[in-house]
């Protein structure tokens, strides 16, 4: 049943690319999440409106549709706009870049909600105290708020990561050679769909298990200075 006919190495390569796309997208999602949370908690109505629209739209539309829209829609939009100004340009998105940006953009919306909750979980008194001892708003953010945000955000970010890494399978639709697409190629050659897709699913399960263990470690680490009842 688990005779992979020499295609095991290909799945292994795919797994590495899956992890790479996932990690790059996570970094982008965290950055967008911080930016989005800043917008949502901002005093400016424009920033709140932009951040609110971002999370509302992204969380209401399926990932697959967004991937198709960004991967196929962006080049067409650029080309059409350029054509209107009398230029001929040809834009081809690299699947890796497009996949990373799309996933980062989608899960940035989920990270925004996580960070918003985390920022609000920081006691206001601490920020007031920091301002009272003469810290500038930026210094208070850097020294007081950001180091603590991670502690409140970690459980939520862990969930975002778990959903994100599973969503990387959708990138196979835009022909990036990650785990799912490599399995499809192996299936095409060997005609053993169940064997390969089941192996791939076990690899994803492995990522989930390792992520869960790491998450527990991280949470213990980030809570090391907190007294527990």
């Amino acid at each position: 049943m688990f005779d992979l006919r020499g295609y095991g190495w290909m799945l292994w390569e795919g797994l590495q690319l899956t992890l790479l796309v996932g990690l790059c997208a996570l970094v982008l999602a965290v950055l967008l999440g911080l930016l989005g949370a800043w917008g949502k908690l901002s005093r400016s109505a424009v920033a709140r409106g932009v951040a609110g629209t971002y999370t509302t739209v992204v969380r209401g539309v399926p990932e697959l549709l967004l991937i198709l829209l960004i991967f196929y829609g962006t080049p067409t939009l650029i080309q059409n706009t350029a054509a209107r100004w009398g230029h001929t340009v040809r834009v081809d998105l690299d699947p890796f870049v497009a996949g990373t940006i799309t996933l980062g953009f989608i899960y940035g919306a989920f990270a925004t909600e996580v960070f918003r909750g985390a920022f609000q979980a920081i006691p206001r008194g601490q920020i007031e105290a920091a301002r009272a001892v003469g810290m500038s708003r930026f210094l208070a953010l850097r020294r007081i708020v950001l180091p603590q945000v991670w502690r409140f955000a970690l459980p939520g970010l862990g969930n975002v990561w778990m959903v994100l890494i599973k969503a990387t399978a959708l990138i196979s639709v835009i022909q990036l050679d990650e785990l799912m697409r490599k399995s499809q190629i192996a299936v095409g050659a060997t005609k053993l769909p169940f064997t390969f897709y089941f192996t791939a699913s076990l690899m994803y399960l492995g990522i989930t298990i390792v992520s869960m263990l790491l998450q527990q470690r991280f949470e213990a680490w980030s809570n090391r200075g907190v007294r527990r009842a």
């Binding site: 539309v61 198709l68 829209l69 829609g73 799912m180 064997t195 897709y197 399960l205």
Partner: protein, 243 residues
Amino acid sequence: MNLELAYNSLPQLFTGLLVTLEITAAALLLGLALAVPLALLRVSRNPLAWMPVYGYIFYFRGTPLLVQLFLVYYGSGQFRVELESLGLWTYFREPYFCAILTLTLNTAAYTAEILRGGIQAVPHGEVEAARACGMSRGLLYRRIILPKAFRLALPAYSNEVVFLFQATSLVSIITLLDLTGVARVIVARSFAVYEIYITAGLLYLACTYLVLWVFRRVEHRLSAHLRPQEDELTRRARAPRLV
């Protein structure tokens, strides 16, 4: 921006939306029916009962839906002879059947986990009180634990409904013509990439927030006994609301 094309393809997109809603509803109903016994087995103290269910839930929550879909739709081909001898091949050959089967198994796993949380959140005192009144286990579950667990699980379940609704877009990959599938066909024919995908996205968006709104209403209804009672003055002072 070719708005006319987007407008003209609305009827086609609506037929796709109908397929999407059909698959969502079927998977939700079947998944819920499957999730209740699974959740009950999951909270059992007998390892023979909870361990297999735990494994099932873990597998379906830990792997991507796309892999599960391919495993059922393409993977069943590897067992064609066996399935034919059982007379099941006619079903597994159909993408529609495979889509509903996979989505049902997937949502059942997530829903069972949500219900488990609800069951375990039922206050212990209520269970003890029911036992003290002499309720049998069956009656206890039917009258006290399950109704309470459903209500406690409702907010999390509304999220699951939205996720499942959006996840049905994956069935377009196994050739079904749901909303995403129809959009992909129109795009392939007309090259109006962003017009069509944005229109389809707006339809998804509208349905998603409609579902969330309905669930909020239901939650509001079901928690009437938890809200402080309004006296006549506050009721009169309150401005009439539209929604």
